[in-house]
């Protein structure tokens, strides 16, 4: 295997802590937040993260495929989750300790509950508003109630972190800035 070329493109408005493990070709969009101890691995293809995403500590985002892994806007990756899906839409929540395999593509407004494993053997697409919950990873569809409030919380959360994180943590800057 060819050695991984590191190339980070971090938007000037993104907040990426110093203590983050990055590898490969990674693009982080404006206003996204990466907490310390998170890991983003672009092993084969590049990873492109949209704007307003929050990636908490211990979260692992891996791209094992050749194609570009696209993560949309305003997603929340909570503590210790592991995501390998080739595409992720907007406004998804991957809760604490959840795991999503590379066979799953995630739509928008999905929630993967705490500790859920989403590991189908065949390729699968999670429709918008899918909620995965419980120890057996059961599924339901969210009615979309409280969507505005949820989006508002996410936006305020990101806004708060953009303000507070730089006060206590050292930040990493993209190349050339």
């Amino acid at each position: 295997m060819a050695p991984i070329r590191d190339k980070y493109t971090i938007h000037s408005k993104a907040v990426v802590c110093q203590d983050v493990e990055l590898k490969g070709d990674i693009t982080i969009g404006s206003g996204s937040i990466v907490h310390p101890k998170a890991t983003i691995f672009a092993i084969a293809g590049p990873i492109v993260i949209g704007s307003g995403c929050i990636i908490e500590e211990g979260a692992i985002i891996v791209n094992r495929r050749k194609e570009v892994m696209r993560i949309g806007d305003d997603n929340l990756f909570e503590i210790g989750c592991r995501v390998e899906s080739p595409t992720v839409g907007d406004f998804n929540t991957i809760s604490t300790r959840a795991r999503v395999h590379h066979t799953v593509r995630i739509g928008s407004y999905c929630v993967v509950g705490a500790g859920c494993l989403v590991v189908p053997t065949d390729d699968e697409f999670l429709d918008d508003y899918t909620v995965i919950y419980g120890p057996a990873a059961e599924r339901r569809t969210w009615s979309g109630r409280g969507k505005v409030q949820e989006a508002d919380l996410r936006r305020k959360h990101a806004e708060y972190l953009r303000e507070m994180l730089p006060k206590f943590n050292r930040l990493r800057r993209g190349e050339g800035s």
């Binding site: 500590e57 210790g80 500790g115 120890p135």
Partner: protein, 187 residues
């Protein structure tokens, strides 16, 4: 007598009050964290004192009592919510003699004294755990749960399993004290 648990002296910092904090733990915003004394913070633990309540002055984010143990790879971070339209993180308070197992994620609001939390648990946001409760290994406690005193919680989602004996307080107290004395630097 139990055999001592040895650690290498270079790896832990010991404070005047007997706290032992691993150098390999990630502690953000240490000025906002209070350790009660004789508390052990193991390798790879992450404690987020930087996620503080907005507002001027000094804010305590995480306070731990005496004889607590934060296991390896634990994540302790304060819970957040919006209240009256303002987003904020809220402080987390933990009592004395609390053991938290390895790789557990804690986002509780309050944890009482003499509480045992197993390994690989997820304690949801704003959970309140009362005194002398126990959470079994691998339990997933949903957000806003209240775990009553002397209760054993287990499963996913965490549910009440049984009552604990009234002697729990003494047992846990003795256990945590013994653990602290066993935890010694390698000779």
């Amino acid at each position: 007598m139990d055999p001592p648990i040895y650690y290498s002296k270079a790896e832990y910092i010991e404070t005047d009050t007997g706290n032992k904090v691993s150098r390999r733990a990630t502690i953000a915003g240490p000025q906002n964290i209070i350790l009660g004394g004789k508390t052990i913070i193991s390798n790879g633990a992450i404690i987020r004192g930087d996620l503080r309540r907005t507002g001027a002055g000094h804010a305590v984010v995480i306070s731990l009592g005496r004889y607590c143990v934060v296991g390896e790879g634990c994540v302790m971070r304060p819970p957040y919510k919006t209240y009256r339209g303002n987003f904020n993180y809220y402080p987390m308070k933990i009592g004395d003699h609390v053991h938290i197992g390895a790789n557990t994620v804690v986002e509780a609001a309050t944890i009482g004294s003499h509480v045992e939390i197993g390994k690989n648990c997820v304690i949801g946001k704003f959970t309140i755990i009362k005194d002398c409760a126990r959470v079994a290994d691998g339990t997933i406690v949903p957000p806003n749960t209240v775990i009553p005193a002397l209760a054993l919680f287990a499963g996913s989602p965490g549910r009440f399993v049984e009552d604990l004996p009234e002697s729990t307080q003494e047992i846990v107290e003795a256990q945590t004290k013994r653990y602290y004395t066993r935890f010694q630097p390698a000779p």
